[in-house]
Structure formats: structure tokens, C-alpha cells
């Protein structure tokens, strides 16, 4: 097995573990600091004086902590995945799958739209001049502001459920694809374009035999960014939609009812989802670029 196919090469593992250990220690520290006032209040009411060990163990095991400790989040994730039916609304897998589908559809449409726009921009000056400013403007609008409008507008047009969320996810993910692919499709050198011209190749032939293969490394970079944006889009899209479920919905309801464990377990699940999807792209990227001898 080729070592390079794996995400981390050996020399990266040690610093990563150090970093994680460091974060976990700080985290436990903050758990004590942030959750202690509640314990002091409780102790005061029952006129008990807390020992340090008691204080620490209690701040790390509250039911509704201000900042849950890492092991509490791990336990919560375990309980809501392994110990719940997938069909249950209390299952993180149930919510994760909803977000997963929204992300995948948003990513697929966003990538398709991005590639089409980039071809239009590279091949047609009028498209470049007319569309590019709008594409850039579209990304300056805060997604949090526009997401509810999309949900409401589409809802009144009779589209509800998955579709508005997919569109928000697409809205975020097409942009890195356009920008990356415009650069990628323009990446052939003058010599390569001239060669094609000496053979009187048609525009389509130049596109498919030169520009598209040459843009592959740029495509993968765009896909990774687009995938991350799709996950964010799906989660942000779930917030104003309400009711439908998904990790964003789970975090929002956790926030509404003051259940920090729900917020943090939803957050971690979203991170794991995004990380896994991007890792899949990275693995495909390594294999494809190696086969094409385009590794950089």
C-alpha cells in the first residue's frame, strides 16, 4: 500500500497528537472555571463546603453544563448514535443523514453550476464581463441574512423541505468551483494552445483534450473548498427552515432549550461529517493525480 495515499504521513502524527492533548487539557480547565459558579451556588444553598476534588468531579458531570467536558460530549455522541434507533428523532445519525443528503445535493449542483459558469467565463468574454461581478457580489452578502429569505420565498412558491436548503448549500459551494476552474481551464501554456491550433482543433476538442485534463488539480482544490462550504450551507439552511431535522436543527434546538450537550455533539458531528467528505475527495485526488502524473 502506498503510504502517500493516506491522509497523514508519519511525521505529522506526533504534532497533531500534541496539539489535541493541549486543547483537551485547556478544555477541561475551562469546564471547571465556567461550570464552577453553579456548583458554588448549589453548595451555598445546602450549606456545604466543597473540597477541590468534589468541585472538579461535579463540574465535569453536570447535566446542563455551560461548557461540557470532552468525555461528556463523547458519551452524548455515543448514546445518540449507537444506543438510538436510526429512525429516532433523538438519533444523531438520523440528523446527520439529513444534513448529509442536503450537503451532497448542494455540492453536486454547486459543482455542476460552478463548472458550467467557468467554461462560459473562459470561452466567452461577454459571459466573463457580465457574470463575474455578480458571482463576486453574491459572495459578499452574508449567508445568514439571505438564507431565511430563500426559505420563505421558495416556501411561498410551494417548495419546502430539502430543496431550499440544497439551494443555500449550492449557493455557497459554487463559488470556489467557479474561481478555481476558471484558473484551471486557463492553466494550459501558450505552447500547448498553439499546438492545438496548428492541428486546427475545434473549441470542444481544445476543451476536452487539453483544458479539462489540465485543470484537474484545480478541480480537486475547488472540490475540497466547495465541500466545506456545502456543509456550512446545509447547516445554515436548516436554521430558518425549522422542524425538518438535521445537525443544524439539532444545534438550534439545543440552543433554544439550553441543552449544551446537544449543541456540542451536533457541532462535532458536523465537523466529522465535513472532515470525512473532504477526506474522501483527498483520497480520490491523490489517486487521480498520481495516475495522470500531475502531482504537484
Amino acid at each position: 500500500m502506498n503510504k502517500k495515499l493516506w491522509i497523514g504521513s508519519d511525521n505529522k502524527i506526533v504534532p497533531v497528537i500534541c496539539m489535541i492533548t493541549f486543547i483537551v487539557i485547556i478544555w477541561y480547565g475551562f469546564s471547571i472555571v465556567l461550570n464552577a459558579p453553579w456548583e458554588f451556588d448549589k453548595a451555598k444553598r445546602s450549606s456545604i463546603i466543597l473540597s477541590t476534588t468534589e468541585l472538579v468531579s461535579q463540574t465535569w458531570s453536570q447535566k446542563r453544563p455551560k461548557l461540557p467536558a470532552p468525555h461528556q460530549i463523547t458519551k452524548e455522541i455515543w448514546d445518540t448514535t449507537v444506543n438510538k434507533k436510526v429512525t429516532s428523532k433523538r438519533s444523531l445519525i438520523y440528523h446527520g443523514l439529513i444534513t448529509f443528503y442536503e450537503t451532497i445535493y448542494g455540492f453536486a449542483f454547486g459543482t455542476g453550476l460552478g463548472i458550467l459558469l467557468s467554461i462560459g467565463i473562459v470561452y466567452n468574454k461577454a459571459t466573463a464581463m457580465s457574470v463575474m461581478p455578480w458571482i463576486i457580489t453574491s459572495q459578499t452578502i452574508p449567508i445568514l441574512a439571505i438564507a431565511p429569505m430563500i426559505v420563505v420565498a421558495l416556501g411561498s412558491a410551494g417548495f419546502s423541505g430539502l430543496m431550499p436548503i440544497v439551494i443555500i448549500s449550492m449557493y455557497l459551494s459554487f463559488f470556489p468551483v467557479v474561481v478555481g476552474m476558471v484558473k484551471g481551464l486557463k492553466s494550459p501554456e501558450q505552447l500547448e494552445v498553439d499546438l492545438m491550433k496548428t492541428w486546427s482543433a475545434s473549441k470542444a476538442q481544445v476543451l476536452f483534450k487539453l483544458r479539462v485534463p489540465k485543470s484537474t488539480p484545480y478541480l480537486f482544490t475547488s472540490l475540497k473548498l466547495g465541500m466545506a462550504a456545502s456543509v456550512v450551507g446545509a447547516i445554515v439552511g436548516e436554521l430558518p427552515s425549522g422542524g425538518g431535522g438535521g445537525l443544524g436543527f439539532r444545534m438550534l434546538s439545543g440552543s433554544t432549550f439550553g441543552n449544551t450537550l446537544h449543541i456540542w455533539s451536533g457541532l462535532f458531528s458536523a465537523a466529522i461529517l465535513a472532515g470525512s467528505l473532504i477526506s474522501i475527495i483527498i483520497i480520490i485526488e491523490r489517486v487521480v493525480l498520481k495516475r495522470m502524473a500531475l502531482e504537484t
Binding site: 501554456e189 505552447l191 500547448e192 498553439d194 499546438l195 492545438m196 491550433k197 496548428t198 492541428w199 486546427s200 482543433a201 475545434s202 476538442q205 483534450k209 487539453l210 485534463p213 495516475r291 495522470m292 502524473a293 500531475l294
Partner: protein, 259 residues
């Protein structure tokens, strides 16, 4: 019996630069006959590459007439009248050697059997048989350049335009490829236009040497070579070879003196 393949008359080409016009080519007149091996030699900036690019319809002249096979360079390009070899091999890293040679054949719509036949033929011509399945990065620079020549030979173009094809290679490889190129030229009877900045290379290869000079780019001298068509590498030590080389050198010097 000499039929005219390329005719250039009163050709001017001016680029607009920020500090005024640059005369890349001025009043260039030239005739190339079928089966000629013409070298263009001169210092950088003399317009030799630009002239080749005009013949290939990669650059457009400002003034003057150019015909290739009796038609405009564009029509000649569209009828796939020539193969072009650049200084860099320009092979696609994701295609093996056979697939790289196949590329122009695919674009021109040759049938599968024809593609296979032609790839075999041209690989044989450039002595790369057995390297079909190798990828460009597995080949030396000289072999890559031979593959790019094979690619230009794969379709039926009568004219071969070569822009310093061996410029980036070391002298030993270059000698070898020069010899191969001469044999290839004799066996295929193509018309070759060859840009170089090496005097021995120009004299050794050519039936006609075009000496050019810069600012403005123009032709200083056209030398019809008196060397026999059979040219072993040792011919470079002959009196005749040295005389022609001297005439080229004088032309280059004359071009520089009136700056």
C-alpha cells in the same frame, strides 16, 4: 523541377509596445521550394521565430503577402498542411507516448486502425519503437523531443516547421538528432523550415540558410548550400563546410554592425 511551397513577399510585422512600435519583421521576401531544408539563423530578436509563426498562422502579418501551398497560411493550417515542433516537447504528462502521438490523429478524425498504423510508422522513423507505453517523464529530453517530432510527422503534412527543436539539448544528443533529422528528411521528402541559433547546425542541415538580423527583423543573406546531400557528421571538418559557416558568420556580423 522545383515547385514553390512557401512564398513571402514584402512582409512586415509590427507589435505595438508601450514605448512605441517594435518592428519584428520588415520587408521580408523569401521563397521555399518543395523538398528544401531551410534554416533561419540570427540573434534573438531577429524575428526568426515570428516568421515561422506567421507561416504557421500563429501570428498575423501587418503587411505583405504570404502563401503556403499557394493559399493563405490560415487555409494551409486548416487543411493541416504542416506539422509544428516547438523548443519544448509539449507532451501531455497524462498520456503515454503512443497516446501523445495519437492526439493530433484523434483531433483530425483518423480511424482507429489508421491511428495504430501511423503511430507504429512514426515511432519507427524516430527510433522510439518499444517506448509506446512509456510516459513522458520516463524519457530523456532528447527522446521527448523525438516523440514530439513523431507527433508532427504522424499526419500527412508536407511541411515541417521546427522552432529550435534541439535548443534545450546538449551537444552530443543534438549531433545525433541532427543526423537522424537529415535521414528522416531524405526518406520522407518533406519541406522543412528550421529555426536555430547554432551556425554548425544550420550549415550541416540546410539546403538553404536564411541569415537574419534584429531591429528591425530582416533577412541579411540567403545562402544556397553547395554541400552534397549525403552528409556524414565528419563533413563539418571539410573546407566547404567551413567556408559556408564563415559566410553565415559574416552575415550575422554585418547585421550587428549597423545597429
Amino acid at each position: 523541377m522545383q515547385s514553390e511551397v512557401i512564398k513571402v513577399s514584402n512582409l512586415d510585422l509590427t507589435f505595438e509596445a508601450s514605448d512605441g512600435p517594435v518592428h519584428a519583421l520588415k520587408n521580408v521576401n523569401l521563397q521555399v521550394n518543395k523538398g528544401d531544408f531551410v534554416s533561419f539563423i540570427g540573434p534573438s530578436g531577429c524575428g526568426k521565430t515570428t516568421l515561422l509563426r506567421v507561416l504557421a498562422d500563429l501570428d498575423e502579418p501587418t503587411n505583405g503577402q504570404v502563401t503556403v501551398n499557394g493559399v493563405s497560411p490560415r487555409k494551409a493550417r486548416e487543411s493541416r498542411a504542416y506539422g509544428y515542433v516547438f523548443q519544448a516537447a509539449g507532451l501531455y504528462p497524462w498520456r503515454n507516448i503512443a497516446a501523445n502521438i495519437k492526439l493530433p490523429l484523434e483531433i483530425m478524425g483518423y480511424s482507429k486502425e489508421e491511428q495504430v498504423k501511423r503511430i507504429k510508422k512514426v515511432l519507427d522513423l524516430v527510433e522510439l519503437t518499444g517506448f509506446e507505453k512509456k510516459f513522458p517523464w520516463q524519457l530523456s529530453g532528447g527522446m521527448q523531443q523525438r516523440a514530439s517530432i513523431a507527433r508532427a510527422l504522424a499526419f500527412d503534412a508536407d511541411i515541417l516547421l521546427m522552432d529550435e527543436p534541439f535548443g534545450a539539448l546538449d551537444e552530443i544528443v543534438r549531433d545525433h538528432l541532427n543526423k537522424q533529422l537529415l535521414e528522416l528528411w531524405k526518406s520522407t521528402k518533406k519541406t522543412i523550415c528550421f529555426v536555430t541559433h547554432s551556425i554548425p547546425e544550420a550549415v550541416y542541415l540546410s539546403t538553404k540558410i536564411v541569415v537574419m538580423s534584429p531591429r528591425p527583423g530582416r533577412i541579411i543573406d540567403v545562402i544556397e548550400s553547395t554541400l552534397p546531400s549525403d552528409r556524414p557528421l565528419e563533413i563539418r571538418d571539410s573546407k566547404e563546410f567551413i567556408e559556408i559557416s564563415q559566410r553565415v558568420r559574416e552575415g550575422l556580423r554585418a547585421g550587428h554592425s549597423d545597429e
